[in-house]
Amino acid sequence: MTVIAASEVHGLASISDKDLKTALSQWLDNPPRRIDRLILQCLLAAAPLKAKVRSHCGLYLASAHPARATMGALLEAVCVQHKQPKPFEFVNSVSNAAGFYIAQQLGIDGPNLFIGAGQQVWPQLQALANLDLRDGLIEQALLLVCDERGDFSVQAVLLEGAITGAYANSFSELSAGTEVQRIKL
């Protein structure tokens, strides 16, 4: 297994979605519209790796929480105001929308999984990706983990080839020896 590239985005809680969109437009020519904060954050970590991603790639994404603002808007609309939810907010909440937009923007056509990020998130993502790498379904695997508890961070690693030996327990362990592209907002 080779780590091709890695990136890490750190942002303050006070960074607005508009600031995230502005930052993203520096990496993508046509960023998608009507996307929520989780999608923006994940795209911002994946976009710097675009030049090195091939189409036969799988995407393995994890987040600790759903997009809180989207969930809040949906819950307020439906349970307090007794209104129908906005369609794009609803669709972003029930689907793996962040994974979809990353795959669309980076031209990825392989498996696309989304898991809840717990304590073992990095070994779990590697284990899932390794099934597809080892079976030759994909040539590369893009792993992303998003965490927003106050300030936020998203870490991304692009791998090539099946993983042999023990799985890394953290982003820093997995990306050791690789130049990490860092974005601070």
Partner: protein, 372 residues
Amino acid sequence: MTPVYLQRSALDCALGASLEEAASNLLAGQQPQGDVFKLHEVQEPRRYLNATGPAGSLDERLDRCLAAVLGPQPQALDDCLLIVASTSLDISELEALTRTQQGFAPGDSTSLDLLASQLCQRWGFAAAFTLNTACTSAANGLLYGARLINSDQYARALVLSFETPSAIAMQGFGALMLTSPSGQYRPFHPERDGLLLGEAYAAVLLGREAGDAPLARLLGGFSACDTSSLTTTREDGSHIHWVMRQALKSAGCSAEQIDLVKLHGTATSANDEAESNGMRLLYGEQMPALSLLKPWLGHTLGACGLSESLLLLKALQLGPLPGVSYASEALLPFSAELQRLAADSLLLANFFGFGGNNASLILQGCAQGDSA
């Protein structure tokens, strides 16, 4: 892929509080009526198919589902992975909280890993994670759970999948104009007008050995993302066709060997058109027997990969499958008559979802009484 057994399973759904009851009701043609709710603002009625098992908190329902699979005195689970496959997770509880407080604060948000980690601790699983790929969640849970067993990472895997009666889901699919105003759930009918949502709690224990009451063997499958649209797949069926072919390849079998195709069949205009086209690309006009489960369960969203697979496999063990009353008008060649198929039939099962998620599984049923 090396086959993995569906050793023990459980289902609580609109057709029955147990898998056996649900399968018996399917074979008897007892379609659930469900309850009526109103879409906000427009005040139009829609049907929802509630599960029939005893009421209780989400924890109680999930524990009951696990107990039904693992038995009254389960052996230690320290060799078993738990995969929680769901789109709703604890949303119904958050909805209740929001109604009580008349608002929702960011701090009220729970982690996506919460239920999986709580169940892992309570039951003593080796590890657990939550998997959410929209309506392919449970199908991916089955596929990746089986492959993790084959990779020797775990001896067993338990896939727990559920969808609760979430107001956001009911109102959200209504806002997208995907729910059926007529209340008739008719996938592939030329005048189909949308879906009915359904509640379900389903679980299956996967392992390399057959166990004492296996339902089926998972022979292969494939899952990939169609990036053409967030809410629909390519209408020409090309992505669905590719996914089905890859699934067949992984199982080492041909389309011609398949005895029965379990269609995704949401009864939405675009999905059924795309699936019809995908099926024609794979089979031309000569198709194997076809099966629809959503009219019996409702669309159980992230749980459909498990609720529909388990129901179909159990029904195959018990008797002939019901025909489709509108077969002569449908877009695909369904049978209006009872379909008599062997319990060990070879199945191709399709599951498609928002977010471009398309998945197909290849399963072979086990006759009742088959064991290790």
